[in-house]
């Protein structure tokens, strides 16, 4: 009886030692690359910071200016993927990313009245950079169309939600009683600029 228990124990130990994560469903098959594209930006802190900063800046400028980004940002991501595919462009480099974070943060902290054209150009440039950077990690067997659809959908959702949340927080033409909300958004800009500056330092140091 005890010897049998011992054998069962050895078998159990072998099973536990060799256990792997179960990829049972959709991620590894069929539409898997759509989810890879949609989730890939979440794995990079730079994407999270830059996308959020862009959304907060657009939201702080009001709905009339920001709504263009709903279209421009996902298109920029797709253009970045195309650039990467046909011209081999992968990443703009840490210093350029840091510079972009710094610029977005400073614009936000200064409460600059950015014209719609410049805002759209900034958003397109940022999306282009990050689209190419995300494509850099694409495996040879990946379905590029599904990956692009996932990435563009994630960009659309992230930028729209961040803008909407900022708009709801700021409220249009804040009255004096709620002026602190504008200051809070500018303080977030100061934090973002500081992060960009730090990142610039790290990029220069390495």
């Amino acid at each position: 009886m005890n010897l049998r228990l011992g054998r069962v124990g050895i078998a159990a130990a072998m099973l536990f030692a060799q256990a792997k994560a179960a990829d049972a469903h959709i991620i590894a098959s069929r539409l898997g690359d759509f989810y890879t594209g949609a989730l890939h930006p979440l794995t990079d802190l730079q994407d999270i910071i830059m996308w959020s900063a862009m959304g907060v800046l657009a939201g702080s400028l009001g709905a009339a200016k920001g709504r263009w980004l709903v279209l421009v940002f996902p298109l920029g991501l797709l253009a970045g993927l195309v650039l990467s595919r046909f011209f081999g462009v992968v990443s703009a480099g840490a210093a350029v990313d840091a510079g972009m974070i710094l610029v977005l943060g400073l614009l936000l902290a200064a409460a600059a009245r950015v014209p719609t054209t410049l805002l759209s150009a900034l958003a397109f440039g940022l999306a282009l950079m990050r689209g190419a950077a995300n494509a850099g990690d694409l495996g040879p067997d990946a379905d590029r169309l599904l990956f692009a659809a996932g990435l563009a959908s994630a960009g659309y959702a992230a930028i729209t939600l961040t803008m909407a949340l900022t708009l709801a927080f700021r409220r249009p033409d804040a009255a004096p009683a709620i002026a602190w909300r504008g200051i809070a958004i500018r303080a977030v800009g100061g934090w973002i600029a500081a992060i960009g500056l730090m990142m610039m330092g790290f990029a220069l140091a390495t």
Binding site: N2, A13, F16, L45, L106, I183, G190, W191, M198, A205
Partner: protein, 213 residues
């Protein structure tokens, strides 16, 4: 040895084998990666950055004092401070990351707590420009210390995010405490807090000069 004795010995050995295997299984299942020294990766960088301003008492009291003094000075200091301080401090951080030395950093950081605490205790009313210059100089030194002490294995960007957010929250904490100035009792409480901060700053200053243990 009798047949019964052999059976009993065999059972004892088998029980030991089973017990050993159960322990081995538990060890395998419950095993976690060992982070014996520095925090690693993005999570580690974020935690290191968040904790760095909170675990150094000299940094912590100086940052809270900056927020309280800003609240005492009122507009525009109260809202300029949270917007500009992180940027100036990050500039100091870059200087630290690039290993550019600053003169007597520990002494200046201790001095910052002493002077800012004294300013809060005395309700020092300086022109905004003068107050901004004082705070900016101290911000560069505090940022330098954070940048120079970046853990080697941590994700630098995550560390930067952590320490900027932690510093900003400490200022916010100071500003919230500073709003007590609306009430006379609160004002006295804040001045008392300023005295405590200045005293701690004095202790750190003496320590950095080698006069205290």
């Amino acid at each position: 040895m009798t047949e019964n004795g052999r059976t009993m010995a065999s059972r004892i050995v088998s029980n030991r084998v089973v017990a050993g295997l159960l322990v081995a299984i538990a060890a395998l299942v419950l095993a976690q990666p060992a982070f014996a020294h520095e925090q690693a990766g993005v999570g580690g960088g974020l935690i290191s950055g968040l904790l760095h301003p909170l675990t150094g008492m000299d940094h912590l009291i100086a940052m809270v004092a900056v927020g309280i003094w800003g609240a005492q000075l009122g507009a525009p200091a109260i809202w300029m401070l949270p917007i500009t301080f992180p940027i100036v401090m990050a500039f100091g951080g870059v200087v630290g990351v690039l290993r550019i030395p600053l003169p007597i950093p520990e002494v200046i950081i201790a001095l910052s707590a002493l002077i800012l605490g004294a300013a809060v205790a005395m309700r020092l009313r300086l022109p905004f420009a003068a107050a901004a210059v004082i705070v900016a100089v101290f911000a560069v030194f505090h940022g330098h210390a954070h940048g120079a002490e970046l853990p080697g294995s941590a994700n630098p960007l995550a560390y930067g995010v952590g320490f900027v957010v932690a510093t900003g929250l400490l200022h916010l904490c100071g500003i919230m405490i500073g709003t007590l100035t609306r009430w006379p009792a609160g004002e006295r409480l804040i001045q008392g807090l300023g005295v405590v901060i200045a005293a701690l700053g004095g202790y750190f200053l003496a320590q950095s000069l080698g006069a205290a243990a």
